[in-house]
């Protein structure tokens, strides 16, 4: 087995027993990036030299700590380019931040660095995390490792592709409307959006502050629990960070699922779903029922209104958050302006790409005088109804099960000119963000050779139940999903 194909828990075991070194593991990951990324384009920045130095430091620490070493010590990771990394360029895949080097680390990076991870690079994304395909990156489109004519999903497409193609042992992404779970589904890896507030947003470049959460991309559910435990926890630097204690998830996931009640929302199996995707998801649900999980129908009646609600709230928050890009303190600055107002307007006109401009315009219009009540306030009220739908369902069931995405990975270019059809890519994930709930996606089959995502959505702060269900399904299905990684022609 190639070392770069290892999971965290496999690598951890070999590292602690001294059978491999972090440097060997890191070299294997860097070699995979070197040979494949020309055709996959998962990375915006590869930090090979820094990675080797971190690996050597990890090896020294491993020799000292042995079995007491932190779980992620010496593990090579890829980080979405929206998470601030001190001294390492953080672009958000935008011209606006093309040369921006953060002077500080995000809290998640402080946590991962304290454990001694090896940062191999920063991954491509839709610009400022706005999109569902990475086609909105200002630099290039990431290719799906399963079929390079198809998108990897988005916005964290680079992180999903990197993990699927064994170009990292794990990765971090961010999820505002499905940006971890949807690309995880389309690339056949495990991806989790924790409960809003679980992971500090300090140092995460803000898109929509009431929806954004950082979370892991991993090769299996055990790894998901390991990374989740590493990044969660209260942070005084994020006022929305939850004070709740962090459970021992790697232990919790092994708990039996017999007797758990699982709800199948009928609205998530309606028009628009690919029948073969539905079949794969229903087969997975049957397998869980076979383990003694009680399955029942539930209704989330406002599902149909979630898309409009999300696409008012997220752009409204984005239009305020992105007001900071003024070309003065950092970032792109237009050189051809005379006055101050002109400088702002040209800097932003030249620095932002189409999708970002579109959302700034949508958000500004929805918040503007005369429209605020009809759009923004209305959406906030419907948000209450959407959250209440889940709350009612959770009186009867412990978790909800549904597809992550209605389709498998779509072709590059297929949805790029039609914002609404692109927005529909996140139909099954964005209600979870609107309600602040945790969700996990894992592969549950192949349709036309492309992975299908199974999603569990849970009660606030109940990631434990989601991980138990995901782990139980992973064990009973007994399958692992790996793309055929021939090098292919570079794109």
């Amino acid at each position: 087995m190639n070392l770069n194909a290892l999971t965290i828990h496999q690598a951890q075991d070999l590292l602690r027993r001294g059978e491999i070194s972090s440097l060997q593991l890191t070299e294997a990951v860097l070699a995979q990036i070197e040979s494949l990324d020309e055709s996959i384009h998962a990375f915006v920045t590869v930090t090979a030299a820094e990675a080797r130095a971190q690996a050597q430091a990890a090896d020294a620490r491993l020799a000292q700590d042995g079995v007491a070493a932190p779980p992620l010590l010496g593990i090579p990771a890829a980080i979405k380019d929206v998470v601030s990394t001190k001294g390492v360029r953080t672009t958000c895949s935008s011209r606006m931040l093309e040369d921006y080097v953060p002077p500080y680390d995000a809290t998640v990076m402080e946590k991962l660095n304290a454990q001694g991870i090896v940062l191999v690079g920063k991954t491509n994304m839709d610009e400022f995390a706005m999109g569902s395909s990475t086609e909105h990156s200002a630099f290039f489109t990431t290719r799906n490792p399963w079929d390079r004519e198809r998108v990897p999903g988005g916005s964290s497409g680079g992180s999903a592709a990197a993990v699927a193609a064994d170009q990292a042992i794990f990765a971090l992404g961010s999820d505002t409307g499905g940006s971890i779970r949807q690309p995880a589904a389309l690339c056949g890896v495990v991806g989790m959006k924790p409960t809003y507030g679980r992971v500090s947003r300090y140092g995460l470049v803000a898109f929509a502050s009431s929806l954004d959460q950082i979370g892991p991309f991993t090769k299996d559910v055990t790894d998901c629990a390991i990374v989740l435990e590493a990044i969660c926890g209260h942070d005084p630097r994020d006022a929305t960070s939850a004070p709740n204690p962090v459970p021992n998830w790697p232990e919790a996931l092994k708990q039996d699922v017999r007797g758990l009640r699982l709800g199948v929302p009928r609205e998530y199996f309606g028009a628009g779903i690919d029948p073969e995707v539905e079949q794969a998801v229903r087969t997975a649900i049957d397998q869980l029922a076979g383990l003694g999980v009680a399955v029942e129908d539930v209704s989330l009646p406002h599902t149909d209104h979630a898309l409009a609600t999300y696409y008012i709230i997220a752009p409204a928050e984005a239009s305020a958050n992105l007001a900071r890009y003024d070309g003065i303190r950092y970032g792109y600055a237009a050189q051809d302006a005379e006055t101050m107002w002109d400088a702002y307007s040209r800097t932003r006109g030249q620095g932002f790409g189409s999708e970002v401009k579109r959302r700034i315009l949508v958000g500004t219009h929805a918040l503007s005088s005369g429209y605020y009540d009809a759009y923004y306030l209305k959406a906030q009220k419907v948000r209450t109804l959407i959250a209440a739908d889940f709350q009612e369902a959770f009186e009867r069931v412990d978790a909800i099960v549904c597809p992550t995405s209605a389709t498998v990975a779509f072709k590059i270019g297929e949805r790029i000119d039609d914002p609404i059809s692109m927005y529909l890519s996140d139909l099954y994930t964005l209600p979870g963000n609107v309600a602040g709930l945790p969700g996990v996606s894992q592969p549950c089959g192949l349709v036309q050779g492309l992975p299908v995502g199974l999603q569990f959505i849970g009660k606030p702060y109940d990631e434990s139940t989601l991980l138990r269900l995901a782990y139980a399904y992973e064990q009973v299905s007994g399958k692992s999903y790996k793309p055929a990684l021939s090098q292919g022609a570079p794109h």
């Binding site: 921006y100 080097v101 002077p103 809003y196 507030g197 009431s210 006022a239 929305t240 939850a242 406002h302 149909d304 209104h305 898309l307 409009a308 696409y311 008012i312 239009s319 007001a323 070309g327 003065i328 303190r329 950092y330 970032g331 792109y332 600055a333 005379e338 006055t339 101050m340 400088a343 307007s345 932003r348 006109g349 030249q350 189409s354 401009k357 579109r358 700034i360 315009l361 949508v362 500004t364 219009h365 929805a366 503007s368 429209y371 009540d373 009809a374 759009y375 306030l377 209305k378 009220k381 419907v382 948000r383 209450t384 109804l385 959250a387 209440a388 009612e392 914002p419 609404i420 602040g436």
Partner: protein, 118 residues
């Protein structure tokens, strides 16, 4: 009866009248909003965004099916309010680190264009 008590229950000051607005976005609307957002757009962009925004706001009409008169708005989903921290002085980032990304600077300051004209 549904319960909303765990949500932030600030009532909106103004009542929503769904029939009061139309969704057609004009070129002038795009220009107005672009100006509010300090976003320079080309003529081609104005035209494209006019069409796309019309379609997007048309979709938003869907929300007017719902009677939300009695529903409180939710601004954020977590039940935390008034999060305080001790008013203690802590070290800030070094000045030179903060200035390192500045597009234009003079000494230890960000350089900007004239804000007031006399």
């Amino acid at each position: 009866m549904r319960r909303y008590n765990q949500f932030e229950a600030t009532k909106g000051k103004r009542a929503v009248k769904d029939s009061d607005h139309t969704t057609t976005i004009t070129r002038a609307d795009v220009q107005h909003v672009a100006n509010l957002a300090r976003l320079a757009l080309s003529a081609e962009e104005e035209e494209r965004f006019q069409h796309q925004l019309s379609a997007v706001f048309e979709h938003f009409q869907k929300l007017s099916d719902l009677d939300t008169e009695q529903i409180p708005p939710t601004a954020q989903v977590i039940p935390l309010t008034n999060v305080m921290r001790p008013d203690a002085v802590e070290p800030s980032l070094p000045e030179q680190d903060v200035l390192a990304n500045a597009p234009d600077r003079e000494g230890d300051q960000f350089r900007v264009r004239a804000i007031l004209e006399f």
